[in-house]
Symmetry: C2
Subunit: 361 residues, 2 copies
Amino acid sequence: SVAAPVSTGQVALGVIPGDGIGPEVTAEALKVLEAAAPADLKFAQTRYDLGAERYLRTAEVLPDSVLEEIRKQDVLLLGAVGGKPNDPNLPPGILERGLLLKLRFELDHYVNLRPSRIYPGAVSPLSDEVLAKGEVDFVVVREGTEGPYTGNGGALRVGTPAEVATEVSVNTAYGVERVIRDAFERARKRPRKKLTLVHKTNVLVHAGQVWWRLFQEVAAEYPDVTTDYSHIDAVMIYLTTDPQRFDVIVTDNLFGDIVTDLAAAISGGIGLAASGNVNPDRTAPSMFEPVHGSAPDIAGQLIADPTAAILSGALLLDHLGHPEAAAKIEAAVLADLEARVPGQQRRTPEVGDAIAARVAG
Amino acid sequence: SVAAPVSTGQVALGVIPGDGIGPEVTAEALKVLEAAAPADLKFAQTRYDLGAERYLRTAEVLPDSVLEEIRKQDVLLLGAVGGKPNDPNLPPGILERGLLLKLRFELDHYVNLRPSRIYPGAVSPLSDEVLAKGEVDFVVVREGTEGPYTGNGGALRVGTPAEVATEVSVNTAYGVERVIRDAFERARKRPRKKLTLVHKTNVLVHAGQVWWRLFQEVAAEYPDVTTDYSHIDAVMIYLTTDPQRFDVIVTDNLFGDIVTDLAAAISGGIGLAASGNVNPDRTAPSMFEPVHGSAPDIAGQLIADPTAAILSGALLLDHLGHPEAAAKIEAAVLADLEARVPGQQRRTPEVGDAIAARVAG
Ligand SMILES: CC(C)[C@H](C(=O)O)[C@@H](O)C(=O)O
Ligand SMILES: CC(C)[C@H](C(=O)O)[C@@H](O)C(=O)O
């Protein structure tokens, strides 16, 4: 499922710059994307004005008509959405559920892809001892369309001392098998060919059983991939004391949310973390975005680091069947990071220009 | 609810040494407990043979009759249970659900208490920069009797491509309020008086709503306690880059499981982490145990570090209303850790003896 068909000619690129630093980093991602794209690949951009600002202006989160337009795009690039913290006019969760998760579910983004590397110069919070064990380079394949994220559940006697609220994690063989299969494909393509299932099978037995069974079943088709299993709580220990052990991790929606933030933290912050919300079957556009938020506190100053957005562009190119172009961006980012002078503050467009120049040159 | 009544005279102490290194570390915990207990406090010990070994021998996990005896104890000390990894005769989850979780649910251990400190000499995987920001000293109050741990849910068409498996997280106002209240009490007694609610309210809206509401409601009764809120994913970043920000954390059963393992990891490993499964209403005995497992690979060699078990004894004394005796154990452990010679390997009883001597002296 990950042997990407090669897109050439005109590709319809939907761009959702979003709020805060979103538009700032998106501009740089687009700059680098254009510089890296092969000559026969042209992006026809359409911008969608979505996010906190639009919501506050119009009370609209994601109108159906906009969703239907977005659905027709070939691929999507998102900056970041989100308003000021604790804005009383912006109910918590409204953008998350009405926009971000809605897109994942509507566009069947069942593979949420988050690579983790400790880049040169990145300030990891881990000790030198831990880092000295070797290179950290793994990718998390997080299920994106079911699990505890479905919104299933409800509440009874809300607001009373007798309130009962449930959250239902829904796990289907259909949904679990396809993401596991995708993860095996990705593991097979990597030098170490190792895949770790992360769950909590000893407690969440119903869900654990279907994840465990399908992991074993699909594993039988990938004898070249080494497999292992870790409980989510043990992963906390491994990621902080021995992150080198991981190559590809496959896990459910909520565990994936948690693991990827820890992964981003240990690799030196979400400032560099890129992600893809991928529909490997290509029945709808996949979406690429930096993991960081809209950072309203620094918006407008052009001081945000666009590297995560730029790396999301690399994932986008890879998804379009252009791994060489993706590799060019990664190499340029690497070179840029290596060349950074500690303490020197560059403006957002300067970083984009520098990386675009490396890509072009 | 945490203003412990002072137990004196004869206290019925149920001891579950368990498997692997469990009995080894429990012996040392008992040694130190006896040394630290005030003169007017006597422990009448009853041992319960429970764990993997008993299960493999008798196919019994926790017979009802044993549970009823345990229920009559005043307080419980557990070593660790668990057999060899991947033992085909020991179905995964059987001890977890049949013994550990069963005790938490049956004895209404709604407060799962896990203090986190970076002790002197502990090898934290965090960088010097992060550690230099200040002392790390917080406690997690994890809900222990509901949430995703209830076993609610089920599966349909198991083993087929049409399988659907659900896990239901059950959250009641009753269960949420009491643990939040306990956490506020604990926060109020600490110098910083700060309580952080950890959840994922932006996605798990039904459960999030009851947690959020009761947190605000109870907070109004504790104006002296500073409160804040963090999503579970953000906690991954905070615990690795700025653990000093936390004082008391209150969270649900599953998030608590995850957060406490990360907390143990950053404080230098679960080798030092103690925990209490507390019934603050004292309708059944509370249970104290090290967070680490039975470590079958090193069992029988008397090389396990009993410090976590010994610190669990301190929590036990505190629960019995003897904070000075608990503080004595903590101080002795601290002194022992400070006196440790790097590279020098002491045997399990030597560590226990050394700490007991400090407690006595
Ligand atoms: C914003 C939020 C709904 C989202 C999630 O929980 O998936 C975010 O944390 C992420 O990881 O993309
Ligand atoms: C053994 C397991 C059931 C347990 C849990 O998940 O609570 C353990 O991880 C813990 O944290 O005490």
